[in-house]
Amino acid sequence: MSTRIRVAALAAIVVLSLVAAGVYVLRVQREQASEAKAAPAVPVSDLTTAMAGPHLLFRNTALGNGYGKLAVVPLSDPGGPRALTGVSCERAYSAAGRSVCLSARRGITNTYKAQVLGDDWKAVGDLPLTGLPSRVRLSRDGALAVTTTFVYGDSYATVGQFSTRTLVTRIGGKESADLENFKLYVDGKRITAADRNLWGVTFADDDTFYATAASGGKTWLVKGSLSGQRLDSLRTDVECPSLSPDRTRIAFKKHGDLPNGEWRLAVYDLRTGKETVLAETRSVDDQAEWLDDSTVLYGLPRTSDSGAATSDVWAAAADGTGKPRVLVQDAWSPAVIRD
């Protein structure tokens, strides 16, 4: 091949690649623009009516101009029309008229925000947040908020691996407690290894909480005390605990001997020590939420018919019986507001 032919061939390949990639990106951009203008792909209803009784707050993942916004459905008709708020969040939780919204803005440097919202969905304050939003919970009276984020490079065991940071903040207060500074005891023995990690908090009352502790590749369910700055292990292989409304059981993710990156949902009875694996046979990576004392909610990702990434909120019986069902389609990060 002569040099001229080769230069021509390269020019053709460069132009072809440029045009093809450019056309692809522009098409995506046009699609996004028309989708953003389009009405949501699901029926919508009035916000005040939806919030009048017990309701479910979630992140709407239905395509359309409400994508990523918080939405509400009444518990009496969870599969029915949803009411959209104007707030966009990656994850959210709500209790006692207060909500916490974790959001991420992506760019060359990513910025993350945790905002406290009043019952009119207006921001009333910020919580400290460093890293990619992962879990958020409020205590039942809405006084304490806890966020788990994963902070890039906070781990040293495998360079480049993520590590978590979990902060408990009294809303309106100035100080936050970093759970990694609490004393961790496993079977009564103090663990000081620097690879301790804590995440997925669920509050029992104004002082007591449950969480996941990890060190040396193992995870534990720990019971913590804010005033005592201390964590005690209760059980191994428990991640992302969630306390039932009657405070007797904990729903959690169990890894067992599954392949890497897979978990099953289970419920642990704090009184009897009995563990029940739920009927959900797919891998769940979410902090479960309780619909009521007998039903557990969780999110599962799904690829929609149009190829877009979405997710649904599922419900499974807490006693391990029955078959899981979709509670809300195109939804993520459920929070149940009972009163």
Binding site: A21, V25, E90, Y152, V159, F162, A194, G261
Partner: protein, 412 residues
């Protein structure tokens, strides 16, 4: 970009004295496009996996470990294959091609298992291409100016690494959440790089086609006198090399840097590397490659003390990044330049691959050991201990490496 201006390939092909061979610049351009492509994906991968695919962070850690680990394993294989058939170009084409295809394969990949296999394929390609590419650089350069040739290549390569994340985030700003767009554009860059390699890099024969290089010949050379001492020195220094991730962490913890600034540390080191790769490559040609290689570790030693010491603040952070960039500039391209002169032409690919594998493996050991040391004695102390060990090992490494400077100096 001053590099490509000052070292523009000679108008007439060949090894004009004082100029870097056209092939080296072409391979640099190939690497630049490929690095834009791979760093684009690497930059968005954590976000993509956790927000779009819905993987937990523990699962992400697994993928990340895989990402780092796979390439070291196939590296030796790539080097040997290039030596065996005597056409490093085609092994390099295979490596670049596999990586390019893996980008487009990310489009339909959704599950954990598929994504893991796609990422493995990408790393496989990287492992495969590195040694044959470096062998091509060595084969097409004047032996006396090998350091500079590798310097030019690594400079172009790093320009790609700096540009990649910028392109990716600019794209995400344009089409928010469309990771598919990132993968498609990344594929386009990879194709352009591959096209330059296929169309313009000459299919150089590294040795006479009559004799296929057998395993035994390769082994005899690698275990032979010429290479044994430098490899031992490389291993000793590698084990005492604390990964840059740990150094960044150390800075982050001391100064309580926010997570959003963390990526800038990588950029800072890359920029320093970019600035020093060529000057240090030239210096290596003048004063000896082993000398510059050991000197790079002195810079690393200084970085330990700067990062592990009590003095925080921006000035120290910038100093650490400069020292770290200097270390990379004085070692990454200088090592293959050093090794190339110590092995016969027939086993050059394997020799370079062996040295790079020694570096990768010893750093892996170092990461495990340093992780434990950090837990035991804390951040600052761990760095100081490794620093003292490195200071003690440097004279020994110098004794082992010094003889290998002789032929290079004789040739100069």
């Amino acid at each position: 970009m001053y590099v490509s201006v000052r070292d523009r390939p000679a108008a007439q092909p060949g090894r004009t004295a004082g100029r870097v061979a056209t092939t080296v610049v072409l391979l640099g351009v190939v690497s630049m496009f490929t690095d834009v492509s791979s760093e684009m994906v690497a930059a968005v991968l954590p976000l993509y996996l956790t927000t779009q695919v819905g993987l937990g962070y523990l699962a992400y850690g697994f993928v990340d470990g895989l990402y780092q680990g796979v390439s070291a394993v196939v590296r030796i294989g790539g080097g040997y294959a290039a030596d065996r058939n005597g056409h490093p170009k085609w092994i390099a084409v295979l490596g670049y091609g596999v990586s390019a295809l893996s980008r487009i394969a990310l489009l339909p990949a959704h599950g954990f298992a598929t994504i893991v296999s796609v990422i493995s394929a990408d790393r496989l390609g990287k492992g495969l291409r590195t040694a044959p590419r470096d062998a091509l650089i060595a084969a097409s350069s004047d032996p006396a100016q090998l350091g500079r040739a590798f310097g030019v290549h690594r400079t172009l390569d790093t320009i790609g690494a700096v540009l990649g994340p910028l392109v990716a985030f600019a794209l995400l700003a344009m089409v928010p959440g469309s990771y598919d767009s990132v993968f498609v554009v990344s594929f386009a860059f990879a194709i352009v790089g591959l096209a330059v390699l296929l169309l313009f890099v000459p299919n150089m024969r590294t040795h006479a086609a009559t004799a296929r290089t057998g395993l035994r010949v390769v082994f005899r050379e690698l275990a032979g006198k010429g290479l044994r001492k430098p490899l031992i020195a490389t291993a000793i220094l590698g084990v005492l090399t604390v990964g840059d991730g740990f150094l960044y962490l150390s800075i982050q913890q001391r100064d309580d840097l926010t997570a959003s600034l963390f990526p800038l540390l990588y950029v800072g080191t890359n920029v320093a590397y970019l600035a020093f790769a060529l000057p240090l490559g030239r210096l290596a040609d003048r004063v000896g490659r082993a000398r510059v290689f050991v000197g790079g570790h002195v810079a690393l030693l200084a970085a330990y003390f700067a990062a592990g010491g009590q003095f925080g603040g921006i000035a120290t952070t910038v100093l650490v990044l400069l020292l770290l960039g200097t270390y990379y500039a004085a070692t990454d391209g200088v090592l293959p330049a050093l090794v190339s002169r110590l092995v016969s032409e027939q086993t050059r690919g394997s020799g370079i691959a062996a040295a790079q594998t020694v570096v990768a493996l010893s750093r892996f050991v170092s990461a495990l050991a340093f992780g434990s040391l950090w837990v035991l004695v804390g951040r600052g102390n761990a760095l100081l201990i490794v620093g003292v060990l490195l200071a003690a090992a440097l004279p020994a490494a110098w004794m082992l490496l010094r003889p290998s400077d002789k032929p290079a100096e004789a040739a100069a």
